[in-house]
């Protein structure tokens, strides 16, 4: 009887391990495929991958994705801070005053914004910004990205702040700290791991967002622009276009771009893990 139970125990352990491997393997496969194919391209091109313009359909040289990199960076630099600041403030507001009407409104808006399809957001921004401006622009792209990522940023921050045990807030008040002092000196520092993760998640979302940029950024690949009012390119857009194209060279460049994106994620991820110290409760 004893051995029978042990057997079942082992059996279940193996089943769980097997299922887990099945679940993870697509992700691992994806990472490996992208890295393998992409890094080959990057290595072949060297530094030019980062500073050259994309190749013409029939050239033999891979060229580079400089416009896409610059465009992505530009739009991230514009939309990420705005999203973080707005999201964090909103999260602080709803955590501090949960029963206030404004807080309830914010909460509701966040939930509904999250359910709008990103392509619809793209179309809305097209109508409101691109048409009056009479051109695509990095600005329009940034606005679309902000709208899309704001609800998620708010939710991440909100969850993190709420997960700080109530007792620390009580302790802070008991030593006569003001409400905002408590938020700045206690709440946020204790939640720093979670906040860093939230920022990272938002960054990941912004970097990888494609549909929101479809009708807003402009796909300008013939040169590198730094003006936010001019049309721009973005890495995901480039991947989207080049993968669907009939030209082999473009498809290769798309692999390279994907690998670049993936590598960036991994670097940022591990940086956060090591740089932001966990607060042990």
């Amino acid at each position: 009887m004893y051995n029978w139970r042990k057997l079942i125990d082992k059996l279940f352990t193996y089943i769980v391990i097997a299922v887990s491997i099945v679940a993870i393997s697509p992700v691992i496969h994806l990472i490996i495929t992208v890295l393998l194919n992409g890094t080959m391209v990057i290595v072949k091109t060297g530094i030019n991958f980062f500073i050259s313009l994309p190749p013409t359909p029939f050239s033999k040289d891979f060229g580079g994705i400089a416009p896409a990199i610059v465009g992505s960076l530009l739009m991230t630099f514009i939309s990420l801070p705005i999203t973080i600041v707005l999201g964090l403030f909103a999260a602080i507001l709803t955590t501090e005053f949960p029963k206030n009407t404004i807080s309830i409104v914010i909460d509701t808006i966040a939930k509904s914004l999250a359910s709008i399809p990103t392509i619809a957001v793209s179309m809305i921004v097209y109508t409101i910004i691109v048409v009056p401006m009479k051109s695509f622009s990095a600005l329009a792209g940034s606005i679309a990205l902000t709208i899309v990522s704001l609800p998620y940023a708010y939710t991440y921050f909100s969850t993190t702040l709420r997960s700080v045990p109530f007792t620390y807030r009580e302790a802070a008040f008991s030593i006569a700290m003001s409400r905002w002092s408590t938020v700045l000196k206690i709440l946020i520092p204790v939640a720093r791991r979670g906040i860093a993760t939230a920022i990272l998640m938002t960054l990941a979302r912004i970097l990888g967002e494609t549909a929101a940029l479809l009708f807003t950024a402009g796909r300008f690949r013939n040169g590198v622009t730094i003006s936010p009012l001019a049309p721009a390119d973005a890495i995901p857009l480039l991947i989207f276009d080049f993968v669907l194209s009939p030209y082999e060279i473009w498809r290769q460049v798309a692999w390279g771009a994907s690998a670049l994106l993936l590598l960036s994620y991994m670097i940022i991820f591990f940086a956060v893990k090591f740089l932001v110290k966990e607060v042990k409760l």
Binding site: F173, I175, V190
Partner: protein, 251 residues
């Protein structure tokens, strides 16, 4: 000037629909250890949080009646100013986890302007830790974090933090409830030794702890004050059946 640290008259407290404190009238004298004793759920914790207005943090809380703390009508006072004179130690030790031992105490001292430069701050940190009977154990590790301390040490750290404000009133909410007996004893000794400098109000559900520590006792049951008076009298000749049952450990 004023002999009374806390005075309450006909205080009723509601949280939402629930009537937590019912017509409470109390007098707490300066420089004594006043123990509030009673079974769980009798309203003792709520009472403490009324005194330093931490009850403001609780949704739907309503306080009616006259409450005078350190000479001030608390409803008409600025809660932050009030709290600068009241230190509190909670049931579950809650030192700030992201600050070192030194910083945990320093933050309390700095906020209340008690220390002006580094030297004064060092002195206060040492004084607070000595009063909390923790100095000898942490003198060489002031820059360690609270998670490296044992539960009993953490609680004494919280006591030190509360004392760093040099408060006139110290509120303790079942401070030894989650501590081992040896540390609990140390904490009790520290509490009794503080009598000269602060007025101590402690909540406990153990009549034995109350017997060890109290000068005055108020017995709480179902949100009402059942009996209050000098500890000696209450522990030898209680005048109500509820107190007697409490002392016997039946409720």
């Amino acid at each position: 000037m004023n002999l009374l640290a806390v005075e309450m008259k006909n205080v009723n407290v509601y949280i939402g629909d629930r009537h937590i404190l019912k017509d409470v009238t109390l007098k707490i004298f300066n420089n004594t250890v006043f123990v509030i004793m009673g079974p769980s759920g009798s309203g003792k914790t709520t009472l403490l949080r009324v005194i330093n207005r931490l009850i403001d943090l609780i949704e739907g809380a309503r306080v009616e009646g006259y409450v005078k703390v350190l000479g001030f009508d608390i409803m008409k006072s600025d809660p932050y100013e009030l709290r600068k004179n009241i230190g509190m130690v909670f049931q579950i030790p809650n030192p700030f986890p992201h600050l070192t031992i030194y910083e945990n105490i320093a933050i309390a001292a700095r906020i209340n302007g008690v220390a002006k430069d580094k030297k004064e701050l060092d002195n206060i940190v040492r004084w607070a830790l000595e009063k909390a009977m923790l100095w000898d154990e942490v003198r060489n590790r002031l820059h360690d974090y609270p998670h490296q301390l044992s539960g009993g040490q953490r609680q004494r750290l919280c006591l030190a933090r509360a004392l760093a404000m040099k408060p006139k009133l110290l509120l303790l909410d079942e401070p030894t409830a989650n501590i081992d007996p040896v540390n609990a004893r140390k904490l009790e000794e520290a509490i009794v030794s503080l009598k000269d400098e602060v007025t101590v109000i402690m909540v406990t559900h153990s009549p034995y702890q109350a017997a060890r520590v109290a000068d005055y006792v108020a017995v709480f049951y179902d949100g009402k004050v059942v009996e209050q008076g000098p500890a000696q009298q209450l522990f030898l000749r209680p005048s109500t059946e509820i107190t007697q049952k409490l002392l016997r450990g039946e409720i």
